[in-house]
Symmetry: C2
Subunit: 365 residues, 2 copies
Amino acid sequence: MDDRVHDHAETLVNWSARIQSGDDVVVRVAEGAHELAVAVAAALGDRGANLVTVADSDEVSRAYLRGHDGEFDADPDFERELYERADSVLSLGGGRNTAALSDVPADRSQRFSRARAGIREARLDTDWMSTVHPTRSLAQQAGMAYGEYADFVYDAVLRDWESLAAEMAQLKEIFDAGSEVRIVNEGTDLTLFIDDRTAVNSAASVAYDSHNLPSGEVFTAPYDTAGVVTFDVPMTVRGRQVRDAKLTFKDGVVVDWEAAQGKDVLDEVIETDGGSRQLGELGVGMNRGIDRPTGSILFDEKMAGTVHLALGRAYDACLPDGESGVESAVHVDLITDMTGDSRLEVDGETIQRDGVFRWEAGFET
Amino acid sequence: MDDRVHDHAETLVNWSARIQSGDDVVVRVAEGAHELAVAVAAALGDRGANLVTVADSDEVSRAYLRGHDGEFDADPDFERELYERADSVLSLGGGRNTAALSDVPADRSQRFSRARAGIREARLDTDWMSTVHPTRSLAQQAGMAYGEYADFVYDAVLRDWESLAAEMAQLKEIFDAGSEVRIVNEGTDLTLFIDDRTAVNSAASVAYDSHNLPSGEVFTAPYDTAGVVTFDVPMTVRGRQVRDAKLTFKDGVVVDWEAAQGKDVLDEVIETDGGSRQLGELGVGMNRGIDRPTGSILFDEKMAGTVHLALGRAYDACLPDGESGVESAVHVDLITDMTGDSRLEVDGETIQRDGVFRWEAGFET
């Protein structure tokens, strides 16, 4: 076994999920993630945790959903109890075919999902973590050779998370104290406000309220956005390509938009509801292991040297207690590359220039 | 997918486990049994059952057990509740390496097993069924090519179970009414008593108190065995070959034994305890889909035209209420071929001659 599989498992169990002796841990294993499951089981055994391994196979789900008439029982208690009594749920993604569920009728999947709202909630109430094991299917989706993709995933996952968390804490501190953010880039001059908002230091650990491995971003919930932004990092939104989307904001709301490709999907997203015309998230990618976009938002938005903004729903963690931010049925991230002739400013001070942070380059303002 | 995989799944879900709409079903899937799991999920969806799929991977178990220090928590409740609340547990065997657990220290496995006695009991309290999906690993163990082994498994599994159950009911009736059984064969003339004992019609269904698919045997619990028996079907006992074991019984107890091969393992078994010197089971194989021994007792003892006798523990189901039969730490089946010049008699009447039952050939006495 590739040593990195063991390192991935150790990172997941120790840094991310903070598993302790006696913890009851459910490990959900996608069809192609068996090798990672073996390494995770070794790490859980070593920690003295208890283990139930759930097979999370898309092909099994497809067969079950297609066979079923759609009248699903609500939250079957044998499954709900498993998750309600679990301390942690570790989901190991990595299927063998990203299109494995393509011929399941959409309303069947939706009814199944609605019938299991209680089970999902129980799972999200645990110290849950999601990660992915590199598979040929995911490499294909990313347009990479298998070995190349495995290198890419492990570069993103096997960081010095303690050190990255400390670095990200600096940006969080600036955001938490700050009021006005300005992003200047080719085709971009955007102002956003963040006073009273709390930034999340997303360091790929339940200890940081961060549930994805890899992570590596600092994000907050902006308001009153004004100006223009161009998203020059290629994105896949709802399975369709979006290139060079350019959005104009006034008083916090998108008033104009265009795109070199994918204007139709941008129309769909922006016209969803009231919240989808506003920005729910301002995020700064800080994972230097991610060096290129792959069409998977789990990785793309964490890429060092990028800033992402999401149309739609804001995260509660960023908002003052009891205050609701942008509410929407959608949350669609779009990314701009800051490694060119760019500036990220907070209250007039330059925090990042041409993709390099102040603390890296030692520059003042 | 091979149509027989679907037929196997339908047989398991409908005939064997009698799954009803709304049943909570745990499906345990060995590493090589994913294809059968897909077909079982389709059948369960079609029945309107609820499904939790547990990955039952020997490699995951090995990693966990080797990583653990051996101080296992007793019956972790998140797992116990899953099985206590389940209506049925379907175990789909079929690993990728029958030796996958070979380097787990024996005492580690035993401690793990003891710590989980409550979970095992909860599982056995459900309508549980065990079956196997043909894998290359199991084909190798049986000394067969993969396609040949798949044919062998499906011939055994895809019977007309209703018709076989009706045929087996005839033998059960004869055993239930009978007192003295005599087995005559080359190197065999053995007498056993069965009055007050109840035979089990093991028809591969929870409706028949039978939990293995395939099955296809009628068995009971004899006593006061006397005479000589030669087991001419090659057996694998504790991983070692046993050939032509010849046992002599007096007053229900083995008094002499020899074997052309494997006398040492026979010594071990017989000298285990008081019960291991007696016969706990008399079984008659009636599955005509099983035409040769493969070294797997799940199949071998069901082979049509054979009789098997087990040294050691008797099954409670065969005994009068409150009476205990042979008690022992072991239950080792040995098989004799009845297709040669043979007779199976009950109270002086010939029930089977040369491997053919009275109702097949139409002979009297």
